[in-house]
Each structure stands twice: as C-alpha cells, then as structure tokens.
Symmetry: C2
Subunit: 338 residues, 2 copies
C-alpha cells in the first residue's frame, strides 16, 4: 500500500472515507478531536490530496483559462503578468490558450472548456471572431467569462477595456496638430469592437478638421505578415502618400518603420507615425515612437480581480458591465514638427 | 436528471457504468454492437466526459506545466509559441507559472505539481536557483522534467539549450574585431549554468587577445531594474569606462541604450554594444542593435517534442541528454567601426 490517499487514512484511523474527507476540509459537522487525529496522520504520512479527486468532489477545478489571440506581443505578455498575480494570490492555476487570430481555433478551445476543466475564463477575442455561439454555450454551462482588451459588445458579461474611441480621436488630433493633412489609418480586419471604436475616433477627428477620409487612406491588414507589409509599403509608395500614419495595432507601426527604411522615407520629416503600443523599447527606436500606451498590467489584473469576485459569488447573476481603464498618449520624436 | 454522465448513459442503456466507460474508450473487450449503441446515445444526449473523472481513471491529466522566470520577455514569449504548437498537436493543455526569478516561488510551484495535476513539466530555471531538492521530488514522483534555455547541470534529465559558450566567445571576438580594448560583461547573478557558459566564452576571448579582465568590467545586475540601471550607468560614467559592452541578457542591453542617452555617449562611436536578444525591433533601434539571437521558437518546440516523446514511453528511463540549437550573430550598427 504505497499510495497515501483518503482510503488509506480512513483505514488506518478506522473512520469512513467521507469523515476523513470532511475532517480535512474543516467541515463543521466533524468533531475537533477527530479533525486533529486526521490532520496529524495526514501530516505524518505526507498526504497530498489528488487534485482531480478534489475537483470532482468540490466541482471546482481551482483553474482559470486565459484565451489570447497571441502571446509574443507586448500588450498580452504584460497583461498575463497582471492576471497571474491575482491568480497566485487566489491559489489558482492558469491555463493558457493561443488562438493565433483564428476564429475556428477560438471556438474549438472554448468547447474544450465546457466540461468543467476550468472555473472561469478570461478572454480577448481573435481578430476573425464571427459569432458568439461558442460563448453562449459557456453561459449555458455556467462558466463565467470576463473579456479584456478585445471585448464582445453583443455578449452580456463584464468587459475590461480602454477608452478606445477617445484614444483614436486623441491620436488623430495629435497628428493634425503636427500639421499632417493626409492621415492614414492602419487596422486589422476591422471586425472587432475595439477596432471599430478606434476607427470611429479617427474618422471623427479627421472629419471635424475637414481632412480627407478617402477610402484608400484606410489600410486593412491581416495576420499574414508579408501581405500586411506589402499593403503598407504600397500605400507609402504612392504619389499621394499620407504625411501621417496612425497604426491602431502595434505590429503595424513596426511595418511602417521597416517600409519607410526600405523606401528611404524619413520619419518624422516625410511621414509622422503614432501607434497603439506597449513596446518596451518605443523610446529607443529610430526615431522614438509616439504611442498610445494601454495600462496592460492593470487591465489583466482588473479582469482577473473581477473574475474571482464572480467566482466567489456563484449564485449572483453576472451583470453586464464595462470597466474602462484609460490609455495615455506619450509624445516622442516620430511625430515631431520638423 | 439534468446532468449527462456515465451513470445516466448506463441507466438508459441498462448497462454497467464500467461497460459504458470501456465502450467510450473503444476497449477491445466490448462488442462492436454495444459500442455503437453507447456512442449513439452519447452523441444524442451531447455527453461531455468530465476531465477530472477521466484523469482519475487514466492517471493522466492531459496537461503539462511550463515554468518560466518571466513572460514579458521576447525570448520566452516566442518560446511559448513553440511549446503551444506541440501541445495543441498532442491535444494537451498548458498551465503557465511565472517565478519572477524567485527561487522560493519556483520551489513552491514545483511542490504544487507533485500530486498529479500535470503529466510533465517544461522548465527554465529562476535566476536565484540555489539547489535542486524540489526537482528531486519531481523525479521521485515520476513526473518528467525537460529544461530549456536556463538548464540545470546537476540534475539528470533532458536539456534543450543553445551554444552559450561559443556565442559568448563569438560576441566578444566580434567586439575585439571592431577595435574594442576594454570590454565590459553584463550578467544577472551569474549563478545559472548558461550565464557561466556565456561568461567563460567572454573571458576566454578577452584573455586570448591579451585584453583586460579587470573585475570592475564585470557587472552583476539583478531583477531590481533601478539597481541594475544604476550599476550600468555608474560603469559608463567612469573615466576608464569600457569602449565595448556585451550584455548577456536582453534587458541589460536596453539599460545600456538608456544610460548612454542620459550620459550623452554615442553608440557606436563612444561605446559599441552587442546583446543576447530576441527583440523584434532590434533592427529599428537607434542605432540598430547587434545581437546574438537564440532560436526561441525552435527551442520551445524541441523541448515540448522531447517531453511528449518521454510521455509516450512512460516505462523507458529518461536519459541525461543535452540538445543544442545554435544561436546566430546578427551584425548591426551598434558595433560598426566609425
């Protein structure tokens, strides 16, 4: 009898397995004397509860899942630190799933989680997100989902996001104040709610100042790096190329730098650039990149905090709610007046 | 009777629970006819196996753990992509734990995993790693561990690493070929095997060329960002400051850039810099950073591949083995002759 499990403890103490189990979880209906005896033997034999047996008994996995579009990305890798801090404090384990911006993968991952592997989910939608059927299944299974950053507007839950509309407006107004007349807007598919908010901010600022909103100033990229780079280079090669670029996604700002180097366009003399970015080295780029910086760590931490609040009150219905943490504009040389 | 579980399937089909369970796992001792009946009902009622019940039966969690010193780091976030690709292909789940370079946290995390929550572990040691007692406990519990990047030399297992000694030698020789005479070496605690290998390469190159190996050219930083920055700035402020710096850790190269900007030292005119780095924007820095670039994705993928090979042959003893994937020197302007 090698394994130290509940059965063995029960046998050695001449108690029922259920009594030992309740004693170990400090149940009120077990006497103090019995609890002491059980704990003493458990310690002596170095009893380690089997996590799966415990999960089955308690219907709790002590695990949350984090579903992300990508991980080699400064925003998400910092946000995970915030999530992990809260999970550790709550003695929870964190499963990580990466969708690589594939809606099919996202739906498949969510289905994997329907059967109780996790108690709750933190999620940032994939760019190709088309419907929310898979999310509705989670709701039916009573698995709470909190969105952060890339939230769903059509699915009732708690969202932790940033002031995307205002930030889009602010970034564009900043380029206009730096004398830009033709401002390009770079986005991914444009399907996500946060993309739409940022773009609304861009359009409102451009229209308010009577500047061009020509369709060819809006470049829709995708997850194919080569294709995206080609589109951006093509735009910067045109005779009527923009004199300001607003990259609503960090990686797209990097492509603008690379394309400008290849085309021998000077930043900020020929083209000014501002980007949504949590790049640690933004200030060291050539030239330093003006950014809209999201509170990545705090957004991760807040999303996790809210999820654990929900997990502690399983009988309270989750309210539809949006928590907004503000982003900052950090001005650097890529938008300087020359 | 709301929940669709094995018991319910068994009752509706008038079969034993164990028969239903074996039918669902396609056991050879159940007739084809019975299997068909069970599968048909399972599909009709949308039966989802409970992962914890299955884990208890199979003594397999279908989960691996990845233990990392940090995640907001270009090397590790790319390595996770490699790990995740292999885990998904094997239908495994990935738990992520971050030690934040704390040995205490690392030991506590490992102890959490002793009781069967995971089938295997991929691990990169924390900088403060002092002993391997916690790892020996894993071995006793028959939980295979594969190290990647920051490996342990004293613990018998499989390691996936890069050619650290050669890379250290190559980086230093590169600075010497660019006319550097006083070459500083930046490291963390220096306790890790990979740090020692890199430093050995540095020392051998410096000695071979008859250059100074003065103790004040070796700067030992730690995880406290402020302290590390202060030490680096202090070194660059001295009259006999180095004319070449080899940063054996990515973040330390960034501090050199920041300190040079503050001290108005020009890179590469006043100081040349080379760094171990997987920074996506190395080529866009001011000036572009010469790097030793590790095959991060491939190292993650290879470590995961090896772990799954071990998991598939649980009765074969894991051999002590080191797999070396080569890093590359990428020359850029930060080490140019001026």
């Amino acid at each position: 009898m090698d394994q130290v499990n509940l059965k063995r403890l029960a046998k050695e103490l001449n108690l029922a397995v259920s009594t030992v189990s309740r004693a170990l979880s400090d149940s009120h209906d077990i006497s103090e004397e019995t609890k002491k005896k059980v704990l003493a033997l458990a310690r002596k034999l170095n009893y380690q509860p089997n996590p799966f047996a415990r999960s089955l008994r308690n219907r709790s996995s002590k695990t949350i899942a984090v579903i992300l579009p990508e991980i080699a990305n400064n925003y998400f890798s910092v946000a995970i630190n915030g999530i992990e801090e809260v999970a550790q404090a709550n003695n929870y384990h964190v499963l990580i799933y990466i969708t690589h911006e594939s809606f099919q993968k996202e739906a498949a991952i969510v289905r994997l989680l329907l059967n109780g592997r996790v108690d709750g989910i933190l999620m940032s939608l994939s760019g190709g997100a088309k419907d929310t059927d898979h999310l509705a299944e989670l709701q039916k299974s009573n698995i709470p989902v909190v969105f952060f950053d890339r939230v769903s507007d059509t699915f009732d839950t708690i969202r932790v996001t940033t002031n995307n509309f205002e930030s889009g407006y602010l970034a564009t107004t900043h380029l206009i104040s730096r004398n830009c007349q033709r401002i390009a807007y770079l986005t991914f598919s444009g399907d996500l709610s946060i993309e739409q908010q940022r773009m609304k901010g861009y359009l409102e600022a451009v229209q308010k100042h009577g500047l061009s909103t020509a369709e060819d100033l809006i470049v829709r990229c995708d997850t194919n790096a080569e294709e995206s780079y080609k589109k951006i280079k093509e735009m910067l090669s045109r005779d009527d190329r923009p004199d300001g670029v607003f990259a609503s996604v960090e990686s797209l700002a990097i492509y603008v730098y690379e394309a400008c180097a290849e085309l021998r366009l000077r930043i900020p003399e020929d083209v000014k650039i501002i980007g949504f970015s949590n790049l640690r080295t933004a200030s060291l780029l050539n030239p330093a990149l003006t950014t809209i910086t999201q509170p990545a760590f705090n957004m991760g931490r807040e999303a996790a905090r809210v999820l654990f609040e929900v997990l502690k009150k399983p009988h309270v219905r989750m309210e539809d709610n949006t928590i907004v943490l503000r982003s900052n504009l950090v001005e650097r040389r890529s938008t300087a007046i020359t």
